[in-house]
């Protein structure tokens, strides 16, 4: 079922719908009495029910993403990484898993935010930072000859994976984190939770950005 509060436009349409629905019943009650109101209620409720079930049937046919046929040598990899998205270790791992195959890579970067900014809906900065990192990472993969797309996902990495899998039928998920002790995702058990939640095989890559920077310096 589609969430009627998924976007502001959908929520606004719901306000208009509620206004028309309850307004019509109230007007019928005022003009014709109780039984007129009951009649309008029954007719409107039936109309809403029919419209709802027809829309659900229509969306079941278009929203679900069936596993599409693919070539034998095609590899579809979903990469989930935030600050480590530009790490060399992650790039090497992606290159390794798609080696010799026709690669189709989707990089998802959760827009991580501070709790305070999250609660005041100040997510624009977090999304912009994620988009910036993502753009550089996808450009680097393209430079290596790997066909990659990118998108900013939900702040919750598990939710970001779930959202991505709805449109991208991956056959491997690569989760990239900082090393143990510096990784908030590892502390929260994101990798183990993902292995329990998704049937797609999961590879965990540790990216030590400090060590990479020291080597590069």
């Amino acid at each position: 079922m589609k969430n009627p509060f998924r976007s502001e436009a959908d929520a606004f349409r719901l306000v208009i719908g509620a206004l028309v629905y309850f307004g019509a019943i109230a007007i019928a009650a005022a003009a014709g009495g109780r039984w007129w109101a009951v009649a309008v209620f029954v007719v409107l409720t039936a109309a809403v029910g029919i419209w709802f079930f027809r829309r659900e049937a229509r969306e079941r046919g278009t929203v679900s993403v069936p596993t599409r046929p693919r070539a034998q040598d095609e590899r579809r990899v979903l990469v989930v990484a935030n600050e480590t998205v530009a790490g060399a270790a992650l790039r090497d791992e992606i290159r390794r898993v798609v080696e010799g195959a026709r690669a189709n890579v989707l990089v998802v970067t959760p827009a991580l935010n501070s709790p305070l900014r999250h609660w005041v809906s100040d997510e624009d900065g977090a999304r912009a930072a994620a988009e910036d990192r993502l753009g550089r990472s996808v450009a680097e993969l393209d430079r290596l000859g790997i066909d990659a797309d990118g998108e900013v996902g939900d702040a919750d990495p598990l939710q970001a994976i779930e959202d991505a899998l709805r449109t991208f039928d991956a056959d491997l998920i690569v989760i990239s984190t900082h090393p143990e002790g510096r990784s908030n995702w590892l502390e929260r058990g994101v990798v183990s939770s993902a292995r329990e939640r998704f049937t797609v095989p999961i590879t965990h890559v540790v990216v030590d950005l400090e060590a990479e920077a020291a080597v590069g310096a």
Partner: protein, 170 residues
């Protein structure tokens, strides 16, 4: 998940109202001697519904890059929401009964008070958005905060339409 939990919260209050009214089946509803200010609440409903249009306008404005429209829409929405809440508080002061009187008054204050608390939260969110918009935040590409504030405000509006209909009209 959040909206789902909110719907269940309101649902529990509506269940209490219908239990008191339908299952107990009192001879008069509202009980004799109790009157609700239906007209004032109707005017208040118009104000709140109009505020949904202004917050929608604010979001459409910033999607076009119109910062003045965003600011005007948010300020108008806030003023209308504030008027709604102030009117409700005045209604409480003059209504002539208290939540402790009987089941009718308890459900009345419970439902309208729960909604009023949500309006207060919505006003706080709108205030943050107004401050941010006057500080130069948001653009045609980045306006996620206004979108979320708009969704919450529309939710508050839909809930009020249902509360008004069931408590004041039905």
């Amino acid at each position: 998940m959040f909206i789902g939990s909110e719907v269940m919260l309101f649902g529990s209050f509506f269940t209490a109202l219908f239990f008191v009214r339908v299952v107990n089946n009192p001879p008069h509803w509202p009980p004799l001697g109790y009157h609700l200010p239906v007209f004032v609440a109707a005017v208040n409903t118009c104000i709140l519904v109009t505020s949904s249009f202004t917050v929608h306008w604010a979001l459409q404005a910033i999607k076009r890059g119109d910062r003045a429209g965003l600011k005007a829409g948010l300020v108008l929405t806030f003023l209308m929401g504030f008027t709604f809440l102030a009117t409700q508080i005045m209604e409480y002061a003059r209504i002539g009964f208290t939540p402790a009187d009987n089941a009718f008054t308890t459900t009345f204050f419970g439902l309208t008070g729960l909604h009023g608390a949500h309006v207060f939260v919505g006003l706080t969110i709108l205030l943050v958005m107004i401050v941010r918009s006057f500080r130069g935040h948001f653009s045609a590409e980045h306006h996620h905060g206004v979108e979320l504030a708009g969704i919450y405000w529309h939710f508050v509006d839909v809930m009020w339409i249902i509360v008004y209909f069931t408590v004041y009209i039905l």
